[in-house]
Symmetry: C2
């Protein structure tokens, strides 16, 4: 589980760097699908990851609007502000949490029940899905997208353990 999150964070950082080559106009330009622009989609990824991790911890959710984060710098700052808490939650994940239940109240008052395992997988898949959308928009503006490869990023628990001593990732 941790390795998928690490993958997402590496890919996300690659996209932030990729975005540096674009004008603010290109980053905010209205596009079809996703959240409607490159930057809004990145904001949404960060917002959704953080929100689910907050909900799992029984904490208050994030209610900000993209209107307040409409520059690459602001979105990066937001990602950075949220990251420590998300990473701390992810690093202390263990498989015994898999079947804990979350009773989540929807806006219409209905209560949905999910396992924690469903929520973390949802969060992981959510980011990968939206990154796939960015890759189409990249081609549409004539640029090569960031690699979506999971391999060749050093993301194995074996390599990890020997490469930087992060034995908490070894499972």
């Amino acid at each position: 589980m941790q390795l998928f999150f690490k993958y997402n964070w590496m890919v996300r950082e690659d996209w932030f760097r990729w975005c540096e080559e674009l004008s603010e106009e290109e980053l905010l330009q209205n596009r079809t699908g996703g959240m409607g622009s490159i930057l809004h989609t990145l904001f949404h990824i960060i917002d959704v990851e953080w929100s689910w991790i907050r909900i799992l911890q029984g904490k208050t959710d994030f209610q900000e609007s993209f209107d307040d984060y409409n520059s690459l710098e602001k979105v990066r700052q937001l990602a950075s502000a949220f990251h420590a808490e998300v990473e701390s939650f992810v690093n202390q994940w263990d498989d015994s949490m898999e079947e804990r239940l979350l009773h989540n109240t929807l806006e219409d008052g209905r209560i949905e029940t999910h396992t924690w395992g469903e929520i973390v997988r949802h969060t992981i898949a959510h980011e990968i899905h939206h990154i796939g959308q960015l890759s189409i928009w990249a081609r549409e503006i004539g640029r090569a997208p960031v690699s979506a490869n999971f391999i060749r990023r050093g993301l194995s628990s074996a390599l990890q353990a020997s490469a930087d001593g992060h034995s908490e990732l070894k499972r």
Copy 2:
């Protein structure tokens, strides 16, 4: 790990059904990014999943060309032909396989080493990424894409065990 594969197979089946509403021309129409068309991208997803699973098992890889699978029916038949073997491999996965090594010879003769854990995560992320691309093309032709939600699909090991007795998915 199994639950991510199950997610991908459910979403893939949803996309096959979604494709039934489109003409062959729309399915094969040249689009920007991905594998260049909706159907070729679905073919590629199936090809890549199967190829990696074959490679992990030390079996021969698939060398067919999309030219021989350029209809929805043919791609579905291919998916169906491959599925039993892929599913069998996935169902017998356990975490002790995580750090087994794959020495993979590239076309230029170089040998890359990956862990099996990297390969299965790569395969999972590969499909989710390409499905994200399809969702953009769907909007571009004025149609709602298939939901990418992991939640609300009954994909929890707890629910799974009680819902259909597939206790091999319980970890």
